[in-house]
């Protein structure tokens, strides 16, 4: 009689605790999957911001190009005043509203929700997630200027990403 009872209690299935532990492990792995999903959603947001940032970076270079070409118009072909544009070793702002290089370390772009315009003027919109600064570096050898347009944008969940474009401007006209 006693022997039989011991035998039976040896033929055990899972205990409740074992089952719970197994389910816990399963839930944990599912939780990891959920985290992955939310990561994918964040990446989606970031990819869209990157598109906007790239076009804003191109705009930075293009606005400098406009200045360089304005100088050419003024001088009639040879750009002697290009070196005077190299004032942005520590960063400058320039936007479509004024088109002027202004030394600054704060490149926040403001987004006007009615005209959909990005500019550095805080009075016309709300601070966007983008900021842009233009840097210039003059070549020691041939008088050309390297212009770097840096757009940084904040990423959901902290941190920021950057888009950097560089172009060389020469003091003579190349189309």
């Amino acid at each position: 009689m006693k022997q039989t009872q011991i035998k039976i209690s040896n033929i055990k299935g899972f205990t409740l605790v074992e089952t719970l532990v197994a389910i816990l492990a399963l839930s944990l792995s599912l939780g990891a999957l959920t985290l992955l999903t939310s990561k994918a959603v964040v990446t989606t947001r970031t990819a869209e911001s990157r598109v906007v940032a790239e076009f804003l970076a191109v705009e930075g270079i293009e606005l400098f190009q406009k200045l360089a070409m304005s100088d050419l118009i003024a001088s009639g072909g040879l750009n002697a005043s290009l070196s005077a544009r190299a004032i942005c070793s520590a960063g400058c702002t320039i936007d479509t509203r004024d088109g002027i290089l202004t030394p600054s370390s704060n490149g926040v772009l403001y987004y006007d929700a009615t005209t959909h315009e990005y500019s550095h003027q805080s009075s016309v919109g709300l601070a966007s997630e983008y900021s842009r600064l233009i840097y210039t570096k003059q070549s020691a050898t041939n008088g050309s200027i390297f212009v770097r347009s840096v757009v940084s944008y904040s990423v959901l969940g902290g941190g920021s990403h950057k888009v950097v474009l560089t172009k060389e401007f020469q003091p003579w006209y190349i189309q």
């Binding site: 009872q5 039976i8 209690s9 055990k12 299935g13 899972f14 409740l16 089952t19 719970l20 389910i23 399963l26 839930s27 599912l30 999957l33 959920t34 992955l36 999903t37 994918a40 959603v41 990446t43 989606t44 990819a47 869209e48 598109v51 906007v52 076009f55 804003l56 191109v58 705009e59 293009e62 606005l63 190009q65 406009k66 200045l67 070409m69 304005s70 050419l72 118009i73 003024a74 009639g76 072909g77 479509t96 088109g99 987004y111 005209t115 959909h116 315009e117 990005y118 006209y173 189309q175």
Partner: protein, 186 residues
């Protein structure tokens, strides 16, 4: 009496574990569904982004090498392209689409060429801000145009907007109009 001491699951234990298991499985299903949705949105978004790059690349190349910039209204921008054809950029009146209207040199027939498919990306609105026009008002400023465009794509009935802005400046020196003379360009 003997039966009671068999150490299997009790009904309560079974019910509890089945409940927990069901909860875990339904959570898992939700995760899979939302992952699937995220993947679907990424597919749609990538297509939209590709289209935006294509549209802006086409516009940039054509506008930069163009001359005689003109903007009669903020929604329309026209110029003469490198081949001498008259180009007009504006949003289609019938679809959410950016259209390049072209009147070839020596012709009066205007051809419309949509720059993207509305299923890939929609153009919600576009504005052109022209400065230093070679045509009225004539000034000596290097011509440039700031383009602000709101592109959008839809996923599961929800619209996502990508508001881009870029500026393009003419690659030909505008010395002609600066001197108040000939039209610009080579």
């Amino acid at each position: 009496m003997q039966k009671k001491s068999y150490p299997g699951f009790t009904l309560i234990e079974t019910l509890v574990s089945v409940a927990i298991f069901t909860l875990a499985v339904s959570l898992g299903t939700l995760v899979i569904i939302s992952m699937n949705q995220a993947a679907g949105r990424v597919r749609v978004r990538d297509q939209a982004i590709q289209s935006i790059y294509y549209v802006m690349d086409t516009v940039s190349r054509s506008v930069r090498t163009g001359t005689q910039y003109e903007s009669v209204s903020p929604e329309t921008f026209s110029y003469i392209d490198q081949k001498g054809d008259a180009i007009e950029l504006s949003k289609s009146t019938s679809a959410e689409q950016l259209v390049m209207y072209m009147t070839p040199l020596g012709s009066t027939v205007k051809k419309a060429e949509p720059l993207h498919d509305v299923y890939a990306v929609k153009l919600i609105a576009i504005q052109f801000k022209l400065k230093g026009a070679a045509k009225a008002p004539i000034d000596s400023e290097q011509p440039s145009v700031a383009i602000t465009a709101q592109f959008g794509y839809e996923y599961r009935g929800k619209q996502f907007i990508i508001p881009i802005q870029t500026t393009l400046t003419q690659r030909y020196i505008d010395i002609g109009s600066a001197l108040g003379g000939l039209p610009t360009g080579g």
